[in-house]
Symmetry: C2
Subunit: 306 residues, 2 copies
């Protein structure tokens, strides 16, 4: 069991408003923070959210528009001023590496920790850890852009402790071997792991669209997400503007989420013209029943399916 | 008569807090906006202050630390998204030019208006307009840094309309010539400008310290300021830390202001450790009687002396 939740750090498109900062969200998974995008000023909500400045951390940038990457510099500096020691891994397109390197040189950052920059050259696997991986897929935007998925590995099945006790198996090492799928011989009798342990359970899958038009490619990429965070810059009344600017409407986000069999859709990246998100949520809900609109500092837990 | 006021857009040092953004202030003088520094996220208070996105505008950067210049990129972009058409002039040390040019190239800004970058190579005059000039002086900081002064030209003396009428001079062109210091002949009699118009009155002078230690050079530079905005990162209890980090204490700011015969001292750039500024204002007031602590969005009018 690893707790996982999303904290939204900025939910406005292009320009900040009084209640919405620029694009950024953190997935807190166990003791690790995975940050997706860092719009200007996101460090303030990062501090407010008490995400901690010295945790294991990876940062993924969807694309190099100012409202998605500018805040990275201030965040890196503030964490340094607050004494961060652990390295950070940052992933994005090759221009991101140039962006960090050039600004580090010009502004003379002097960080207290190592920053490892990883230029993503192609779609697919971005990084694999023991029990999850992050993959990317090309989005359809006015500049080169990626969408990301965090996908956990399967978890072991449920251990039937009553059955194990009924068979007289002592707690300890043998439990561990059975849990890990190994059949054992106990007092001369073969006990199959499958007698005690249920079938392996799916890990969770979280998708983050970044800025994009909906596409068949993304529909496949986000298939079966437990939670999908999808941009919804406009209502469907402005569908032509959405297409022109390479963004999505709330309805288009919902349609893709429904076709991808996504369990929960979280809309974000709202044009500053919307004082509230009623219209956007309403049109999305006409297509997908489990929809919510992200707010700055909102925390959404991501439970296991079983 | 030209109205002039300062609007503070960010008053925190190094790291933003819940109620203070990073360094930035606007001097609104008539229909022009002169911006001094642009810390990350200042665009939000710029929008809140309704300073307008299409006014005549100059931007001056004191130095290339991230908390004083990063917000420039987002501000430029937001003004473009909101349809700015008028050019902007930006002044700062040569690295500022590199900062804007490199980021414009990497992030691909595509602004709707012209940006003229001016690298300041030496102290003295930065820009002269018809009725004011901005000058700079080297500050004493951990990196190359400037302090700025905005100094207005003298205004004409007060026109004594009663005396003009008593002498029977008709309103119109002759009034204008007298106001401009010209002696006239009216109905065969010489009338001296000085009979009707008082002596010329001083314009206003506003100083902005940026990040700096106090110095004899700055004491002279800020001489006779009507308003001096001076950094006050620490209280005098932390005077060693202030010296080490090339910052000033509230007491040091007040001491310099008193010696410069400054009329009003506004403290700003407070370390995030201070929840309020009582201690800082109090120690400054023990030295200079007209002191206030800047707050985000605070507006301070700058009246003429006479």
């Amino acid at each position: 069991m690893v707790d996982m939740q999303i904290t939204f750090l900025g939910t406005s498109a292009a320009t900040p408003t009084s209640c919405r900062g620029l694009s950024s969200l953190a997935i807190v998974r166990g003791s690790e923070v995975l940050l997706f995008d860092a719009g200007e000023g996101m460090q303030l909500n990062f501090i407010r959210s008490k995400l901690g400045v010295n945790k294991k951390m990876k940062i993924f940038i969807t694309h190099m528009h100012a409202d998605h990457c500018l805040g990275l510099l201030g965040l890196l500096q503030t964490m340094s001023l607050q004494g961060r020691e652990n390295k950070i891994d940052i992933y994005g397109e090759p221009k991101l590496v140039e962006f960090i390197n050039e600004n580090t040189r010009i502004i003379n950052f002097g960080l207290s920790y190592d920053v490892n920059l990883h230029a993503i050259e192609s779609e697919g696997l971005v990084v694999r850890e023991k029990d999850y991986e992050v993959t990317c897929c090309s989005a359809t935007h006015s500049t080169s852009a990626f969408s990301y998925c965090l996908t956990e590995g399967d978890r072991p099945g449920i251990f039937n402790i009553l059955e194990a006790k009924r068979l007289g198996i002592p707690e300890g090492e043998l439990y561990g071997r059975l849990q890990n799928g190994e059949d054992i011989i106990y007092k001369g009798k073969t006990i199959l792991s499958s007698q005690i342990v249920g079938s392996r359970r799916l890990g969770r899958k979280v998708g983050i669209s970044g800025d994009t038009r909906p596409s068949e490619k993304l529909r496949r990429f986000f298939m079966d997400c437990d939670v999908l965070v999808f941009e919804s810059t406009y209502s469907h009344k402005l569908k032509r503007k959405a297409a022109l600017n390479f963004h999505s409407t709330a309805k288009e986000a919902a349609r893709l989420a429904a076709r991808s069999r996504v369990r929960k859709l979280l809309l974000t990246h709202f044009s500053a013209r919307y004082n509230n998100t009623f219209e956007l949520v309403s049109e999305a809900k006409s297509i997908h029943k489990n929809v919510n609109a992200a707010e700055d500092l909102m925390v959404v837990p991501i439970p296991y399916r079983d």
